[in-house]
């Protein structure tokens, strides 16, 4: 199947990436090229094959529930676009 401009707009919205009208057209063509290429996977019979999510079979490690990190807030906020009183500032979301 191939994507149309509406599909591209919807994927861009889900991806939180702004695309101009011009960019949408080029993007549609390029994404369709890539999807056409990965389409060949559909022809493979994978009945009864377990999906492989990871290269090694390891289970998530557990650790004792104790504090291991010291406070780095000042270091981390020094590189933030906008902070105030130890908080990250973003545009108002609740009126």
């Amino acid at each position: 199947m191939s994507l149309n401009l509406e599909d591209v707009a919807r994927i861009a919205l889900l991806s939180r990436i702004e695309l101009s009208a011009d960019e949408r057209e080029t993007t549609r063509d390029q994404l369709n090229g890539i999807l056409g290429f990965i389409e060949q996977l559909q022809a493979v019979d994978t009945t009864s094959i377990e999906p492989m999510a990871h290269a090694v079979d390891v289970v998530q490690r557990l650790r004792p529930d104790v504090v291991t990190e010291i406070d780095h807030r000042a270091d981390f906020q020094a590189i933030a676009p906008e902070t105030e009183a130890g908080l990250y500032l973003v545009p108002r979301v609740v009126e």
Binding site: L41, T46, P51, V58
Partner: protein, 493 residues
């Protein structure tokens, strides 16, 4: 000195023939001279580098046995290296080749950076790369493309193109790289170097900016297998901060270097030797195999019937993981934030539109699509099932051989612009390397001659899981009887 092996540099430092400061200065001066042409380094800081070198000299001067804890002399103490700009380095800008992180000065060190610093290595700077490691030519870097030192009109390969170019031009004797689909091996091949991608989980991913977490693996890049073994000794090891780091006993990756190769069984996947490989690459690889037979190895045909599906499977799995990993770049806690926006949603979408380059956006969009409702099973789950088929092929193949060999890249370095307008053509540059990442296997590339236009050709060695010491042995024995790995571009002497 610029062509010396790490072992030779180590000996020169130990015998006081050279100091760490002199060595760092030698390479910093070469960077100053040649980087304006090559664009291999994104960031250098002479003061910081020399400070680290002075500390290394103090460490080297202290009489044996008097060092304070953690300051003992290692074979790498005082040797300079460059870090791919994907590794967080405290106090240094860590850009990942992206506009998104142009102003990101890392507040912490990656595990790999920490370990190499603890060994006493001196950081020369941060190396250029494809943006977020997405590319095979270094043309997607926000900081501009890296030139191949063998021919400045050609790409160095990618994504670790800065690491490869800096090594080839002898701007550094060692470098770190990362490999998600071939990003250590392909640039190593295109620039005439030796590079190793370890088994998934051997090197910690902590502080290595994530692209596709189930595939990403850091590793050493250098002139020779012997150098790579020394570097891997210092880079590998368990790290609780990476949830996929493997808890295994430490290994000396140099231990088998001198073992003779008599009786070695080399598997040749027929799928790697079919159409698609350029004739010049084929000739160099065949000549290398002949050399291995002289060393006592035998070759046996093996089959990887699903390897042709590795590139399309990868271009579902890697973008899917990337779309999730790169959602953290939202202009809130760090990274680029757009100057103008009406509300929070627009702040996100505009910051990301401005901060990411075209290839990164494409992969986020593809990844978002294959994970979205109604397409997940058809694309993502199907690709994961094919990933298992690809891994199972290797299990079968390794029943018949000790290592697998083939070309690293289907061609020698190509010209700028040759593939950059067609994403799928670019993706096919990694046709021989991607399957090892999907399987989690170790892979390496070493120089095995020159092809068209006198450009380097890489031989790929794929090992069984945790077969690094064996692969390094196999590569080192070849490098003892050949001199391809000692060649450097004439114009940069």
């Amino acid at each position: 000195m610029i062509n010396a092996s790490l072992k030779q540099l180590s000996a020169a430092l130990a015998s006081k023939k050279v100091s760490a400061v002199e060595l760092a200065t030698l390479f910093l001066d070469r960077i100053e001279k040649f980087n304006p042409i090559l664009n291999a380094f994104i960031t250098t800081d002479r003061e910081k580098t020399l400070r680290q070198a002075r500390t290394a000299d103090d460490r080297l001067k202290a009489p044996t046995g008097t060092q304070s804890a953690g300051a003992d002399i290692t074979p790498l103490t005082g040797i300079p290296l460059g870090h791919k700009d994907i590794f967080c380095t405290k106090g240094w800008r860590t850009s990942c080749g992206s506009k998104m992180l142009t102003n990101f000065v890392s507040p912490y060190d990656a595990h790999v950076v920490e370990k190499l610093a603890a060994a006493g290595m001196v950081t020369l700077g941060k190396l250029n790369m494809d943006e977020f490691a997405m590319g095979s030519s270094n043309e997607t870097s926000y900081f501009g493309p890296v030139k191949n030192p063998w021919d400045a009109s050609c790409v160095p390969g990618g994504s670790s193109g800065g690491s490869a170019a800096a090594l080839a031009a002898r701007l550094t004797p060692a470098a770190t790289g990362t490999d998600t689909g071939g990003s250590i091996r392909q640039p190593a091949a295109l620039c005439g170097l030796t590079g190793l991608k370890p088994t998934y989980g051997v090197v910690s991913r902590y502080g290595m900016i994530a692209f596709a977490s189930s595939l990403d693996q850091g590793g050493p890049m250098a002139k020779s297998a012997e150098d790579c073994a020394l570097l891997l000794n210092a880079m590998a090891g368990f790290d609780a901060r990476d949830s996929t780091s493997l808890e295994r006993p430490g290994e000396d990756y140099s231990r088998d270097l001198e073992k003779p190769l008599a009786g070695l069984k080399i598997g040749l996947p027929q799928e790697f030797f079919g159409a698609g490989m350029d004739d010049d690459v084929r000739a160099a690889v065949e000549a290398a195999l002949a050399e291995y037979r002289k060393l006592g190895a035998t070759t046996v045909d093996v089959h990887l019937p699903n390897s042709g599906l590795s590139v399309p499977a990868y271009y579902v799995i890697a973008p899917a993981e990337a779309s999730s990993n790169l959602s953290r770049f939202d202009g809130v806690r760090y990274g680029h934030r757009a100057a103008e926006y009406a509300d929070l949603a627009e702040m996100y979408s505009r910051s990301r539109a401005q901060g990411f380059g075209a290839e990164v956006k494409r992969r986020i969009l593809i990844g978002t699509y294959v994970l979205s409702h109604g397409y997940y099973d058809a694309y993502y789950l199907q690709a994961q099932k094919i990933r298992r088929l690809i891994a199972a092929d290797f299990v079968e193949a390794f029943k018949h051989c000790d290592v697998i060999m083939g070309p690293t890249s289907p061609s020698v370095a190509f010209a700028f612009g040759a593939k950059s307008t067609d994403p799928v053509q670019m993706y096919l540059s990694d046709i021989y390397t991607i399957s090892t990442n999907l399987a989690g296997l170790p892979g390496m590339s070493l120089p095995c001659g020159f092809g068209n236009h006198n450009m380097p050709v890489g031989l790929q060695i794929i090992g069984n899981w945790f077969g690094e010491a064996k692969m390094l042995n196999v590569a080192h024995q070849y490098q003892k009887v050949t001199d391809w790995h000692t060649r450097m571009p004439g114009s940069l002497a």
